[in-house]
Amino acid sequence: EMTVSTDGSTSMEKVIGSLGEAFSNKYDDVTFTYNPTGSGSGITAAQEGRCDIGLSSRALKADEAKTLDGTTLALDGIVVVVNPANKVNDLSIDQISKIFKGEVTSWKDVGGADTPIVLIGREAGSGTRDGFETITNTKDSCKYRQELTSTGDVMTVVSKNENAIGYISLASMNDKVKGVTVEGVAATEPTIADGTYKIQRPFVLVTKKGAQLSEGAQKFIDFAFSEEAKPILIKAGVVPVAKK
């Protein structure tokens, strides 16, 4: 009986959940667990050996990369979402940046109704937030009305509040919320794969440098990068990346 324990990013939930399920279906003798805690904590868990594989929805930072190996499993778009009732369909990176910095506070300034903009963000430490703020150049200056602890939560709030804007992982996208195009480009697999959709970040499998992976963990990583896994990743809404 082997076990594979993974721990980390909540935005990778769907991806890793699907992979894990397919993996357990394939090998009867392994138990696969996924603990959706967040990228930061997944990285720490990998470092402290509390899990076999850490899951991060952002690239490892320099000091983290000293002790850890990060392998990019897939690319994920970060979709800027609004309530389906919102008339705004497209925003530029600059507009997004101004909105989240609180410089633009009404939807009418970006072509929408005359209502206040309600900013929904993720909590400090989230890989999604880190990726979004880095790319839109809003690091540390977002004026969030709410800081929520998961992708699902952001979707719920945005879907319930006509004034809200937030950002979520493409993998989790559904029609409860509306994704806006960024500089005319919609977040889709091709646009992410070729880099024309700007707001994207990697999904990374994190392991301890130099440490021997358990048999199960090795099997899982091999599985994740196999041809067999590709359709699963695509179905989960992300763009697979070949193992380097």
Partner: protein, 292 residues
């Protein structure tokens, strides 16, 4: 004939030792919790500086230039708790007096299981319903851009502490000797006058205990509030999204690292100190009651 007890250890002595150990172990648990919290909580306070930590008004734990001021959380916790008491206490108190003294037997028999049920509902259920009903409701009623707010948290907390306030108050009121009641009635007071002017004052330390208990519950609640407060680290304001001491810990803990993580443990330490102060107050109240 009466055999003397040998020096060997017998079952009775073993039993005594085991039970002694089981009793003492509770003290051990408290000590371990204290020690761990202090060990985990002090480094960040040392690094940030106690004054900056407690009285800083800005919390930006992952910024390039991180800031760790928890005054907004402290104030939010205090305001939120106070608000919950202000709403929950009168509601609970009048209900308790009614149930303890006026309710006809069938009404009492019907309502008291309801209150038990209310007490037994897990806090996340309150948070869940609050999130679906209260938050949108507040947004519409007060015409706000968003309903997640201190007010929503206060209402959820008020409902959550209601059953414990009711139950403790009922016990306190029922414990008042009947002689006071008779004495007052015999002077020509009506039943309502009797209950509110004699029975309730006589039960006041018990009711005070109920309040302190409610404060403890409200200040320590995390999950339910997390679902309705919005969790932005703002200075508290009734219609703004806010973060409590508990939710500050809960929302960032799983993502945290380094000084941020240490600072979260420091917040937990602050919360713990608050709770210990409240417990000490409760003890005083109860002791005072014991004397009367």
């Amino acid at each position: 004939m009466l055999k003397k007890q040998g020096t060997g250890i017998n079952v009775e002595q073993i039993a005594h030792m085991v039970f002694l150990f089981l009793g003492i172990i509770n003290v051990g648990f408290v000590l371990v919790i204290c020690i761990y919290l202090v060990i985990a909580g002090l480094p960040a306070i040392k690094e940030i500086g106690l004054v900056d930590f407690l009285f800083g008004t800005k919390w930006a734990s992952t910024a390039a230039n991180p800031q760790f001021g928890i005054l907004p959380f402290i104030l939010t916790s205090i305001y939120g708790t106070a608000g919950a008491i202000i709403i929950g206490l009168p509601l609970g108190f009048f209900t308790a007096v009614y149930l303890a003294k006026f309710a006809p037997r069938p009404v009492y028999k019907f309502v008291s299981p309801l209150i038990d049920l209310l007490a037994g509902i897990p806090s996340v259920v309150y948070g869940f319903i609050g999130m679906l009903v209260l938050v949108p409701g507040i947004q519409v009623i007060f015409n706000l851009p968003d309903g997640s707010s201190l007010l929503a948290s206060i209402l959820v907390l008020a409902i959550m502490i209601l059953p414990s306030i009711i139950k403790v108050s009922i016990t306190a009121i029922q414990a008042v000797p009947e002689e006071y009641e008779l004495g007052s009635l015999a002077l020509g007071a009506t039943e309502i006058e009797t209950y509110y002017k004699v029975m309730v004052p006589a039960a006041k330390s018990g009711i005070a205990a109920a309040v302190v208990l409610g404060v403890g519950r409200a200040i320590g609640e995390a999950m339910a509030v997390m679902m309705v407060a919005g969790n932005a680290p703002n200075m508290p304001s009734l219609f703004e999204s806010v973060r409590f001491l508990t939710t500050a810990v809960a929302s960032e803990m799983s993502y945290s690292s380094g000084l941020q993580r240490d600072a979260l443990f420091s917040i937990a330490l602050v919360l713990f100190v608050f709770i210990m102060l409240i417990n000490a107050t409760l003890n005083l109240v109860l002791k005072h009651r014991g004397k009367n």
